[in-house]
């Protein structure tokens, strides 16, 4: 086969063609795309920013959960302990002090409790076979 030499050949073109009027319409197409792009860019950027802030907030809250839980737990323990210690060793509270602190509502609820207790008492007494010995006492 004859040796092929590029320089001996007449110039080989690419053979590539373009559609008719392609370059006439091309700049309008690009300018449209650029203008569309400019309008679109802003909301996407903003949405990204909001999403990023939302993600940051979620992460922050998630990180805070164990801290908040522990904080509540320890404060409850402390309160109970302190109160107990205070009542047991530090205060001069007696029955009269407690009664003075009661208001009408407390007394009413106490009465209700007592009423219930009466019924229970009757039940116990009626079902108790040794009721005579209890009465005689």
């Amino acid at each position: 086969m004859k040796e092929f030499k590029l320089e001996n050949e007449s110039k080989i073109t690419t053979g590539f063609k373009t559609p008719e009027n392609y370059f006439n319409d091309f700049s309008a197409k690009v300018l449209n795309q650029i203008n569309e792009g400019e309008v679109k860019v802003i909301p996407i950027y903003k949405r990204k920013k909001v999403l990023a802030m939302l993600a940051a907030a979620v992460v922050f809250i998630a990180l805070m959960i164990p801290v908040v839980n522990n904080y509540n737990n320890t404060s409850k323990d402390l309160d109970a302990n302190t109160l107990e210690t205070y009542l047991a060793y530090q205060s001069n509270l007696n029955q009269y002090d407690l009664i003075n602190q009661l208001d009408t509502k407390d007394i009413e609820s106490l009465n209700n409790n007592v009423a219930l207790e009466k019924e229970t008492l009757e039940d116990i007494l009626s079902s108790n076979p040794n009721i005579e010995s209890l009465i005689s006492e």
């Binding site: 590029l6 053979g15 590539f16 063609k17 559609p19 091309f26 197409k29 690009v30 795309q33 650029i34």
Partner: protein, 180 residues
């Protein structure tokens, strides 16, 4: 050079931007189209890549430092866009870039926007066997008839290295066409 500086200033000034960009489009759409078409080979892909190239040129204009010429800067963007496009297309089809190009060349025969015959197809097939850099150099020198100095600016290599690259490319192509 001062003309170019002035032109870039017009491109960046919101008042003159539209007119200047239209001028840029009409001056460069044809050479950049040829450059991209030579890389991606079919018209529809070249159309997509050319549009993306101009959109990128518009977006990045404000970052253009004037260290290189506007011409070579735009050619660089076009080259990168075209090569990225080819690689993505090959990846999506699950084949190598070379296999994709061979497939595209086979499809050229049926392409309405191609009126070449056997020798054009054979030449394209020979080019695909070259390394990427040599392909670019050959296409820019032989088809687009750019000067070595211009290609050197676009590809960021020395003129000497380009001449050697082109020489190698021509030898390999001649060998391929002779034996096929």
């Amino acid at each position: 050079m001062t003309d170019e500086k002035e032109f870039i200033a017009q491109l960046l000034n919101p008042k003159t931007q539209n007119t200047a960009f239209q001028k840029l489009l009409s001056d460069y759409q044809r050479p950049l189209y040829s450059h991209i078409r030579n890389i991606v080979l079919n018209h529809d892909d070249a159309d997509d890549v050319l549009q993306n190239t101009f959109v990128k040129i518009f977006q990045y204009l404000k970052n253009f430092k004037g260290e290189s010429k506007l011409f070579s800067w735009m050619y660089r963007i076009a080259t990168n866009e075209a090569l990225t496009f080819l690689n993505q297309k090959a990846k999506l089809s699950g084949i190598t870039s070379e296999a994709l190009q061979n497939k595209t060349i086979d499809n050229l025969k049926a392409d309405v926007y191609f009126d070449g015959d056997e020798i054009q197809i054979k030449l394209q097939k020979a080019i695909v066997t070259l390394p990427e850099k040599q392909q670019l150099v050959f296409k820019m020198k032989y088809f687009e008839e750019l000067k070595y100095e211009e290609i050197a600016e676009i590809l960021g290599t020395s003129v000497g290295a380009l001449k050697a690259s082109y020489h190698h490319a021509v030898k390999k192509i001649e060998l391929y066409v002779t034996s096929n």
